[in-house]
Amino acid sequence: MTTTTTETRAAERSASRVAARVDRPQPPSALSASLTLGWRSVLKIRRIPEQLFDVTFQPVIFILMFVYLFGGAVSGSTQEYLQFVLPGILVQTVVMASLYTGISLNTDIGKGIFDRFRSLPIWRPAALVGALLADSIRYVVAAAVCLAVGMAMGFRPDGSVFDVVAAVLLVLVFAFSLSWIFAFLGLVMRSAGAVQGVSMLAMFPLTFASNVFVDPSTMPGWLRAWVDVNPVSHLVTAVRGLMAGGPDAGDIGWSLIGCAVLIAVFAPLTVRAYRRKS
């Protein structure tokens, strides 16, 4: 039988190849290991493009819905409202996309592959950092979709290209920082469903109770108090400022401080949870 001979030959081949010793080189640097693991996540996005639904179709629907549904009522004209709301929806979409980090991490860790990573002599948090870096690609897609749809509908940033790019970068940095919270939840919660539930709960006050959709001046005092300290509000104001060509150093500063605090608190917690994960 032909298969048998192929098998036998394969076995003979293996005898020489497998035994040939390959010595272990120096372990990769922290950066190289993180990038390699990020590359893995990018490959997965390529293989399962449905993963990009929430950063492609969702923002399109949000923009259309909010602009045409509320535009007239809120700002008198859809065009004016678009100018106001687009930076906000951009922030909201990207911030929402960071939630996915926790869910995918939770599913991933349930499988054996993390065991393999953890049995390698690589920088421990590399698997986390890699996943978070790859998620930045999703954020870029989300930002690009928002801007493209907005421009097609008539959104015109007054700021320079440089300002717009800076605005997008600021949003990316914020989403990266925020994703540590969701990574932490992804590690400590039992199931992906639970991660999604809890993250959504955190997401609503962050994105809706903010200045994303409306000017807070008409809100009751207690809500305004929250909206004013909500880091997403500062981020939205900063992004609006940049896109309008009048960047506000104060809001940019507050946003960046928010990012630093998020990372300072949640990165160590997440890494610790990851180490403890048995």
């Binding site: 394969a10 497998v18 997965k44 054996g112 065991d115």
Partner: protein
């Protein structure tokens, strides 16, 4: 431990304990594996095999006891230990969404090979493991045997000094199992020490230089396959008569000569009996000839590892001490 022992031992564990809540999954396991040998850890479901392997490979912190791999402590020197080991876990530890090539390149990059070296090594391993045709297919479309092989390949992108294999052939057909065995033998020939867990006695028998039988988190017997068989005690006589009508006479002679009670077997003309002293079988043959009993086949068999396993795990509680052969 003398210095000589520490130098030649690839894996040493003393009193390893791991508890999950009330459940003492691993309850004082001692292991000593010589460098360059294959060590089999044999045990039924839930015995604590995987938990033991996870502690030895630094994935799980022991609650008690200590373990060293190539002289490095698995807790204090975990990073050092990881530089010398390879692990193929019980459950597929490759990325289902990535192709065979991508998985191996990923693994090669993570151990520090350059991009070009990684590609070359991936292609080489795929060929050795007979997976070239599936190289660009996502692993989720692989058959069980192919998955096991890609998993094994991923743990040897660089040659590990100590390789841990958790049930490497569970669920494989006999031919795939043979392929995995060949790969393991090749690695050992290249100087790798292998610790493998298995539920299959023939696998331990075929591959392992020494075997530890574990049950409910403790080692209930340890030794070479021959030691273990001997520890269960006696060999058995297997006699097939040419003429079934001589059975009564033959049974009487067996009983008298060997001083035991023959066991009844369902097979026509077959008599089996425990043998304390195989020398007596020669006497039996002379008497059978003298009485005119004609025989088709006669032999003395050592107990199979299956019998060992059943005896050990079936009566573990009362026989624990007497059957612990070596330590």
């Amino acid at each position: 431990m003398s210095t000589l022992d520490t130098q030649t031992m690839a894996i040493e564990a003393h009193g390893l304990v791991k508890t999950f809540g009330e459940n003492r999954a691993v309850d004082g396991v001692d292991l000593a594996v010589r460098a360059g040998t294959v060590y089999g850890v044999l045990g039924p479901n839930g015995a604590g095999k995987t938990t033991t392997v996870r502690m030895l490979t630094t994935l799980l912190r022991p609650d008690g006891g200590s373990a060293r791999v190539l002289g490095r402590d698995v807790v204090d020197d975990a990073d050092e230990v990881r530089k010398f080991i390879g692990l193929t876990g019980q459950y597929a530890s490759v990325d289902e969404d990535l192709t065979g090539t991508e998985n191996l390149v990923l693994q090669s990059r993570l151990v520090g090979l350059s991009r070009a070296q990684s590609k070359r090594r991936a292609a080489e391993l795929l060929e050795s493991f007979d997976l070239t045709d599936a190289a660009s297919r996502p692993v989720k479309h692989f058959s069980g045997g192919m998955r096991r092989r890609i998993d094994l390949a991923a743990s040897i992108v660089v040659t590990p000094d100590v390789l841990f294999l958790d049930e490497p052939t569970t669920g494989l057909d006999p031919r795939s199992r043979g392929q995995v065995w060949d790969i393991i033998r090749d690695l050992v020939a290249g100087g790798t020490t292998v610790l493998l867990t298995t539920q299959y006695l023939d696998e331990a028998d075929q591959l392992a230089d020494r075997i530890a039988v574990i049950d409910r988190g403790t080692v209930i017997a340890e030794g070479t396959s021959a030691d273990l068989k001997a520890s269960v005690g006696r060999s058995s006589l297997h006699l097939r008569l040419a003429d079934e009508t001589q059975r009564d006479l033959a049974e009487r002679l067996v009983a008298q000569t060997l001083d035991t009670t023959p066991r009844s077997t369902p097979e026509a003309g077959v008599i089996t009996a425990p043998v304390a002293d195989p020398d007596l079988v020669a006497d039996l043959m002379i008497r059978l000839r003298a009485e005119g009993v004609r025989i088709d086949e006669i032999g003395v068999q050592r107990p199979s590892l299956d019998e060992v396993f059943l005896t050990l795990t079936g009566h573990a509680a009362e026989d624990d001490d007497t059957e612990r052969t070596a330590a």
